[in-house]
Amino acid sequence: MALERLFRRKRPSGENRDVPELWTKCEGCGASLYKKELRENLLVCPKCGHHHRLPASERVAMLADPGTFQETTRLAPLDPLGFVDTKPYAERLRAYQGETGRKDAILGGTCAIGGVPAVLLVMDYAFAGGSMGSVVGEEIARGAEKAAAEGRALVIVAASGGARMQEAALSLMQMAKTVMSLDRLWERRLPYVSILTDPTTGGVTASFAALADVIFAEPGALIGFAGPRVIRQTIRQELPEGFQRAEFLLKHGMVDRVTDRRKLKAEVVRVLRHLHPGVPYAPGV
């Protein structure tokens, strides 16, 4: 294969890594990167630090201690309203399921994180933009309740455009459902850590994702309530540089830490070990 052919096709993200090309282009700085190296860096560009979107399964592999993850997510979506826009919702669901091999936009289960028993829930942006409908809402509520019942910490990795339009008011109600389910953790004094990744907006930010004991955000992640396009239309002017990015949120007091993905697990473990009442004092782990 001629070398120039390896460089020709620009991949939209790191999600197509399994194609046999060896090189890819950084979405941040445009540098050509050896894929293996990018993967070893958890899809963070070694040159500019740009955080590419990490597929849900790799997020689980990155956070869960090796060999401990047991998937519990199992619900499948319905089409309760018979929603049809330019395409039927049922058809869109089948397409997303075909593309991702997942029933809906969430992957979760039990695991250990740095030895701390946890329920880990990861939203999958590749499935309908990570949108929250009935399945995502119910899986999160069940995850919180399971964590409470079994004395586990709860860790949720958010990546979502918000509530899912095609389930309309029922999607909206998932905001209330997920928020309320967190009470079970409060009652048992179990920690809840939220990790906001690119992008996290709308009804997901405005419900469970914002209510964690400790909130991490990944560098450069777009995080907010309204999307930038909507805001631009409302105020009819360009948005300031860095608006709604993780660093902006840190500055405005909305998140606890903006942490490089390559150091994220270590910091999450420190928080979980500190907060979980069942873990004894163990500095420097």
């Binding site: 309760p80 309309a168 008011a169 909206l172 209330a176 459902k177 405005h252």
Partner: protein, 316 residues
């Protein structure tokens, strides 16, 4: 400004009025003609109001003259005393609240407030709250909880304000907090959707033991215009989006999102605001009565179960 679909009715009403005036002025007996037109008017009203499309209801929900939160607080309640401010940054005129009596019962009230004319609408930001508004609402929730008085919320917003200042001050965070605060109250809570129930900005004060809705109000995850702009790539397809979103009172009752529908006078609440407010008062009193026997803990659990049960999915 009359709504487009109201025009044939208004024209016929005008003709009947003219005919009556002519009869009076000239002394000619036009009673038969008037009766004929009145019969036709009744049929026309039945046809139009009996077959309202979701999009027409959305227009009714936004109609000028429809009762706002302050109209309800002034007319259905006694001694409403408005309380201002979020104790942190500002007073948001898009959310109002305070102390009131409902037939002698002490209650704490809050609600989105739209303007009743253009000038007031600008001042109230068209009922689109900033974070301060939700912080004020939370402060009033705490007040209700502390004294054990029922907390009543009136929903009427196109949505929380999508602007730079709102984002800077944590719009998503306060909505999440408000949902949480309201869900944890140990007092009877009722939310009533008066007009527009736009997304998280509406839900933030909608996590109640009982959720009521006026007959022509709407409640959904997104406005029909925004939904159309995203899914159809054209905001003008809003009527189709209104249909698809199943956002009418009847649809929401079927989904379990609301518990009861409060009837509106014929033609919509803006035709007879006083009549609509009477119905609202009656519904609130009835609902408060239903919640009366529940202990503080039972009220919390009742609310938890109510929202925990919402959603449609398949086990597999």
């Amino acid at each position: 400004m009359p709504l487009e679909f109201e025009k044939p009715i208004l024209e016929l009403e005008k003709r009947i009025q003219e005919l009556k005036e002519t009869a009076k002025a000239t002394g000619v007996d036009l009673e038969a003609e008037v009766r004929l037109l009145e019969e036709r008017l009744a049929r026309l009203k039945g046809e139009i109001y009996g077959n309202l499309t979701p999009w027409q209801r959305v227009q009714l929900a936004r109609a000028q003259g429809r009762p706002t939160t302050l109209d309800v607080l002034e007319k259905a309640f006694q001694d409403f005393l408005e309380l201002h401010g979020d104790r942190a940054f500002a007073d948001d005129p898009a959310i109002v609240g305070g102390l009131a009596y409902l037939e002698g019962q002490k209650v704490v009230v809050v609600g989105h407030q739209k303007g009743r004319d253009t000038k007031e609408n600008l001042q109230r930001n068209f009922g689109m709250p900033h974070p301060e508004g939700y912080r004020k609402a939370m402060r009033l929730m705490d007040l209700a909880d502390r004294f054990g008085y029922p907390f009543l919320a009136f929903i009427d917003t196109p949505g929380a304000y999508p602007g730079v200042s709102a984002e800077e001050r944590g719009q998503a965070w306060v909505i999440a907090q408000s949902i949480q605060r309201m869900s944890r109250l140990r007092v009877p809570t009722i939310a009533l959707i008066l007009g527009e129930g736009g997304s998280g900005g509406a839900l933030a004060i909608g996590v109640a033991n009982r959720v009521l809705i006026l007959e022509n109000a709407w409640y959904s995850v997104i406005s029909p215009e925004s939904c159309a702009a995203i899914l159809w790539r054209d905001a003008k397809e809003a009527p189709k989006a209104a249909e698809a979103l199943k956002l009418t009172a009847q649809d929401l009752l079927a989904q379990g999102v609301v518990d009861a529908i409060v009837p509106e006078p014929e033609g919509g609440a803006h035709k007879d605001p006083e009549g609509a407010i009477r119905n609202i008062k009656e519904a609130l009193l009835k609902t408060l009565e239903e919640l009366k026997g529940l202990s503080p803990e039972a009220l919390y659990q009742d609310r938890y179960r109510r929202f925990r049960a919402l959603g449609a999915y398949a086990e597999s």
